[in-house]
Symmetry: D2
C-alpha cells in the first residue's frame, strides 16, 4: 500500500534505486491533452543527479519512456504507463552496508516492517523514486497550464542562509539562473558556498523550498478530511527528507499573530483579498488568491563520515558510506515540490467538476 | 467527498453546526473491543465549549449516542453509527451575516464551490465537527491502549508564550491541571492571562500543540505516499485553523542542522536511538522510538470587532460578529489533536497486519 | 470495511435490525438538488414490511429523518446524514436462536469472522439495511431524473412462473398495479397465488427482477475494472439473497448465441442500434441505448419449518424460526434494485465529468 | 479511473493492444513470498494466443518481465512492476477500420467518452490486457496456495454443448488434457468440433466457465457492499465478453427453488454443510465449504463476415474485419477466470487479518 497518489488523477509507482527500472502508471488523465514530452524532460533535467557541482555525481540520463495512453501525441484517457531504466547504479558501493542499519535511514524500519529489504542504493526508499513523480507532476502542470494555473518553486533557505522576502517581491523568472535555484543572485551565491563547504566536510545540510501556485480559481478542494492545504501538505511530506510544512502567513510567526492582524479582508466578488495570510486557501478550499507554502527539508542522512550503528545481529559497528550523494537536496527537489503541488491541484480541479450537476 | 478519514479504520462524518445533529460512522473497527464510553465522554468534555472561562460559552452537553456496532458493550466489527443532537444553537446570531462573506472564513469559498451555503454557525465548516473526530479518535485510543500505545497532547505555545522544553522533560500527567492544558504551571498561568487579555480585546490568538505517542513498535506506516508522518500531517492539517506541522527535531531548527549532528545513532536491536531527531519515524515508518510532532494554529477568524468585507452582491460592508466564540482554540483542540493522532496510528496498525502472510 | 458504496457519490451505512437505529451518510451529492422527500418516502413505502398480504407483517413506519446536508430544501454539497429508528423489533423472537447457527444464514460466518455477533433479528445481515440504500438510491434517481434518466424495475419471475416478454413489450407504468409488482396482471395473479401457497407451507421461494434504465447517454462507465455492467452487477449482488446477474441478451441464451446473430448494428451517430443484445453497454461503457439487466434471488433462508443445524458447541439441534418473515422477497426488492441501479449510474455520471478538461 | 483492482492487494494496469507495451504494478503483495516465475509463465501460456488450432493465430511470446519488488527471488513488500512488450501487432489490419464504429465493439463508446481513441487492435479494450491480470492473479494463487487454497476453472459449455455435471463429480486434474479445457474428453471433443465449425463460418460462439476454489476458511469477505460473491462477480464481469455470473446452486434453477430444498444444513463446527447450494458463501462471507461460480461469455464481436455499421461521419458503411481472432474465447479465458478469482480471494484474505486486534 501507499504507492498511489490522488483520487481521480492517480499516480501509482514502482521501482528500486538499483533494480532494473523504475516507473509508474498515471490513471485518470483527461483525454485530449497534447503531451509536451520536452517539458516533462526539462523538469527531469532539473531533478537529475549530476547536473551541477553541488549535486551528487551519479549519472542517469533519466530519459522517460511513455508506453501507453498517448496516441498521435495526445492523451487518450487510458492509463499512461512509463519507465526509466536504471543505468549508473553502482550496487557494490552498498555491499559493505548489507547488514548494517544506517542511522536515520529506513534500513531498520523496512527490515522490521517486511522482514527483509533490498539494501542496494536504499532500494525503494531512495529519492530516485521522485523521478516518477516529476513525470506525472509535469503532465499535471501542462493540464493546469491549459486552464491558467502556473506553479513555481524555489529554494528559500539552505542551512541558516535564508531569503527573507515574500514571494511577491521576488522575480520568479530568475529561479534557474543559478544552480541552487534561489531567485536572488547574492543569496544564491552564499548558499552555493555553504553547500560546497558542507560537501567538503563530508556532511549534509537542510533547507527550505517555497512553492507558489497562481491562477487557481476559488472553490477547489474538499472540506473536512481532504482540505486542499492538507492534501498539499501530505504531498510535500511524502518527499524524502521533508520534516515540516506550513502554508500562508508569509514569514509571519503564525501562532503569535492576532486575528485582527491577519484576517484577510475581501475586496471584490472574485475573492481578491487585501492581504494573503491565508495562503490562498480558506476553510480548506482555494479562495482565488495565490496559493503558497513552505516545505522544510532535514539534512540528508547519508554523510561521508565514519558513523556508529548496529548490524542485523545487534552488534555495534562503525561504517562509512561510499557512493555519490547530495550534500544538500533542495536544489534538485525544486521540480519535485512543483510536481507534488501540481498533482494535488490537478486532482482538486477534476474533483471540483463533480460539485454540481 | 472528503468526509472520510482512514483506509481500514474509517471515520465518515456529517453535520452542520446549527443543523439537527452531527454524527458519524466508524467502519472497520475490529471486533471484540470493550467500548469504554466513559473515556470517550471524558475526551468530549475536554473538547466541549463552555468548559472554562477561557473558552466559548456556547453550551452543548455533547453527549454522544452510539446507535449500532456495539453489542453487550463490545464492538461487533460492524459499523458504529453515532449522533450528537445540536442543542444550544443560536442561529439568529448569524442572520445578519447571511449575505456577508466574513474575512478568512469559508463563506466565500463554500459559495464558490457549491453555489449556496448553510450560513448558520458556519455550517459544515464549524469546528463543532471535531466532536465527531473525538468519538472515533478516543475509540482508536482504546484500541491502541490495548496494544501498549499511549497518546498525549498539550499546549506548547499561546501567542509568543512558549514552553521551551522537550516533551521528555515534561510531566505529561500534569496536562489537565490547568485550563489551558500546558503541563507547566507557571507558563500556563501566563498563557491564561494572555488569552483573557486577548478575549477582552474581542480579538483572537494562535498557538501550538505538541503531541507524543509512546509505545508504537517499529514498522508501522506505508512507504512513498502514505508515509506515517505524512498521514499524521494530513490529519493534523485537517483540524480547523491549523496552518503548520512538523515532526521530530525537538525544537531544533530543522533546515539549518547538519547531518552529522542530527543522525540518530541506533543503539540496539529494538531500534532504540541515542537521540530522537527523527521524531520516531524513519523513511515513513515508525522506528520504535517516541513519535512526536508540533501543530501550529492560526488565531481563529471570528473576532468581536467591527470588520470590513463584501456581501454577496460585491458591495463593501462593515459588520461585527455576534455569538460566543473562542479567543484561543488550542486548549480545546488538545483532545482533537490526540484523536487525529490516534486515528492515524490505529489505521497504520491495522494496515501493518497485512505486510506478511 | 465494506459499508461504503460508490466513489464520488458515496453511501456509507450502519445499523442492525434490532439495534437502536439504522442510517447512513451520503457524501458527494452535488449541491443545488431540490430534495423530494416525498419521492424518497414513496420508494420506502414500496420496500416497507407489512405493505401487503404477501410480505412480512413486521410493522415499521420507515420514516427517514434527514439530519444534515440539506438547507432550505436543497442539497448543499455537504454530507447528508439520515436515520431510521427501529420500532417494531421483537428481539425475543430470536432468543431461542442465540446459540444456533441457522442453515444458509450468516450466523456461522459472522461468528467466524468477528468472534461474536448480534443475533437479534439477523443483526447487520438483515435486509432491513436496504432501507438505507433506498434513501440514497431515490435521491440518486432524482438527480438522474434531472438529466433525463429514468429507472424502472419489476418482478419477472416468482418460482417457475415467468413473464416471458422483453421489457420493450411491457407497459412499465403498470408495475405497481398489483402487490407482486409484475406489470402483467394475469401473470401477477399466478405469482401472488404461488407466494400465498408457499407462505402457507411455511416455505420460501425465489424469483427474478428485471431492471431498465432509459436515457443514459453514451460514454458513462470506466474501462477495465469498473466497467459499468460490472459496477451494476456488484451493486445487485450486494442485495440480500441475490445469487445471479446478467445484462442484455433479452431472454436469449447468451452462451449459445453466435456473433453474427447478436452483434448490434449501429444505425446513427447517437449510437442507436437495431437490436440491443448488448444491454446498452459496450466495452463497459454505456452506448446510448436502454440499459437492462436481470437479477436472480434465491428463496430466503428463514422458513417456518423445523430445521436441523448445530449450536455454538457443535451439538446437533432442531429449531423452528419464529417471527414475521417474507415468503418471497422480490416484490419488496423492486425499489432496492432500482436504488442500486441509480447509485451505480449517478456515480458513473459524476465520474464522466472528469473525462476531459 | 477503473484501472485498479483490489483494496490491499492491488493491481493497476496499463497498455493498448498495439502500443509499445502492456504491463502493471502489483501493490500490497506481502513480503517474503518466493516468486515462482515458472508458474506465472505457465498460466500465461494457457492464455496465450496461437496456442492451439482453435485460438487466434496472433503470435506473442508473452514473456513477462518483472522490474521491481522482488529481491533474490522473494517479494520485498514493495510494488512489483512488470511489462510485456507487444511483438506481433499488425496494426495495418486495423487501418481500414480507423473511422468505423464496429458493431458491439467499444469503438463508439470510447469515442463518446474520450473524444478520440486508439483504433489499432482495439487499443485498451483488447483482451490482450488480461495478460496483465494473469501475472497478478498467478502471484495471488501462489500466496493462496501457501495457506491451503487452490483454484481451478474449466470450460463448462461452448454454445449449447454443456457439461451437465457438478464440479464435485469432475476430475479437475483433467482440465488441460484437451485444448478446449473441458475436463470430460467426449464433451470436449464435441466442443472442439463446434469451435472449428464456427471458425470456418467466420463466426463466433459463446460459452461458460465454472470456477472452483477449495480450502478457503470461513470468515473471508466483507459484509454489505463488498460481499465476497459480489467482489468475485465484479471481477468476473470485468473480463471481456462476460455477460452473466452466478454462484452456488449447482446447476439448479435458483429462482424456482424452495427454501426448504436449498437451505444448507450445517453438520459440524467447521461449518461443513450437507449440501452446498450456497456456493461456499453465506451472507457475503466464506463459510468454509468450496466456493464455486459460473461465468457466461457472449460470442466475441469480431466476426470475419461482412457487417453493416456507420463511420464517424454517421454514414452507413459495410466492412469486414481482418486480422487473427478467436472464434470462441473460453478456452483461453480459463486462466483469466482463475486469476480474477485469486485476486478477489487474496484481497479478502488480507482484509480478514484486520478483523480483530
Amino acid at each position: 500500500m501507499g504507492n498511489t497518489f490522488g483520487k481521480i488523477f492517480r499516480l501509482t509507482t514502482f521501482g528500486e534505486s538499483h533494480g532494473k527500472a523504475i516507473g509508474g502508471i498515471i490513471d485518470g488523465c483527461p483525454s485530449g491533452i497534447k503531451i509536451d514530452i520536452d517539458f516533462i524532460q526539462s523538469q527531469l533535467e532539473r531533478r537529475k543527479p549530476g547536473q551541477s557541482k553541488i549535486t551528487t555525481q551519479r549519472k542517469e540520463s533519466d530519459k522517460v519512456k511513455l508506453l501507453s495512453g498517448v496516441f498521435e501525441g495526445v492523451s487518450t484517457g487510458t492509463p499512461i504507463g512509463f519507465v526509466f531504466k536504471n543505468e549508473d547504479a553502482k550496487s557494490k558501493d552498498y555491499f559493505h552496508l548489507k547488514d548494517i542499519f544506517r542511522p536515520s535511514h529506513a534500513d531498520f524500519t523496512y527490515q522490521k516492517k517486511y522482514g527483509l529489504r533490498d539494501y542496494r542504493g536504499g532500494g525503494r526508499t531512495s529519492a530516485r523514486e521522485t523521478a516518477n513523480w516529476v513525470v506525472a507532476g509535469s503532465l499535471a502542470q501542462q493540464i493546469l497550464s491549459e486552464i491558467g494555473v502556473s506553479i513555481n518553486a524555489y529554494v528559500s533557505s539552505v542551512g541558516s542562509i535564508r531569503l527573507n522576502k515574500c514571494y511577491k517581491n521576488i522575480d520568479l523568472s530568475k529561479i534557474d539562473e543559478n544552480i541552487v535555484r534561489c531567485p536572488d543572485s547574492s543569496i544564491a551565491k552564499k548558499m552555493i558556498e555553504l553547500v560546497e563547504k558542507i560537501k567538503k566536510q563530508g556532511d549534509t545540510i537542510g533547507g527550505e523550498i517555497t512553492c507558489v501556485a497562481k491562477g487557481v480559481p476559488a472553490g477547489w478542494g474538499e472540506p473536512v478530511f481532504e482540505k486542499l492545504h492538507a492534501i498539499i501538505g501530505k504531498a510535500m511530506l511524502s518527499i524524502n527528507a521533508v520534516h515540516g510544512y506550513k502554508y500562508g502567513f508569509d514569514g509571519l510567526d503564525i501562532s503569535s499573530a492576532k486575528g485582527s492582524e491577519v484576517n484577510d479582508v475581501i475586496l471584490d466578488i472574485d475573492g481578491t483579498t487585501k492581504t494573503n495570510f491565508s495562503g490562498g486557501i480558506t476553510g480548506g478550499l482555494s479562495n482565488g488568491n495565490d496559493i503558497y507554502c513552505e516545505v522544510t527539508f532535514k539534512p540528508v542522512s547519508t554523510i561521508l563520515q565514519t558513523q556508529k550503528s548496529i548490524n542485523e545481529k545487534g552488534e555495534e559497528v562503525e561504517f562509512k558510506a561510499k557512493g555519490r550523494h547530495d550534500a544538500c537536496v533542495v536544489p534538485r527537489a525544486v521540480p519535485v515540490v512543483e510536481s507534488m503541488m501540481a498533482l494535488s491541484l490537478v486532482d482538486a480541479y477534476l474533483k471540483s467538476k463533480t460539485n454540481k450537476i
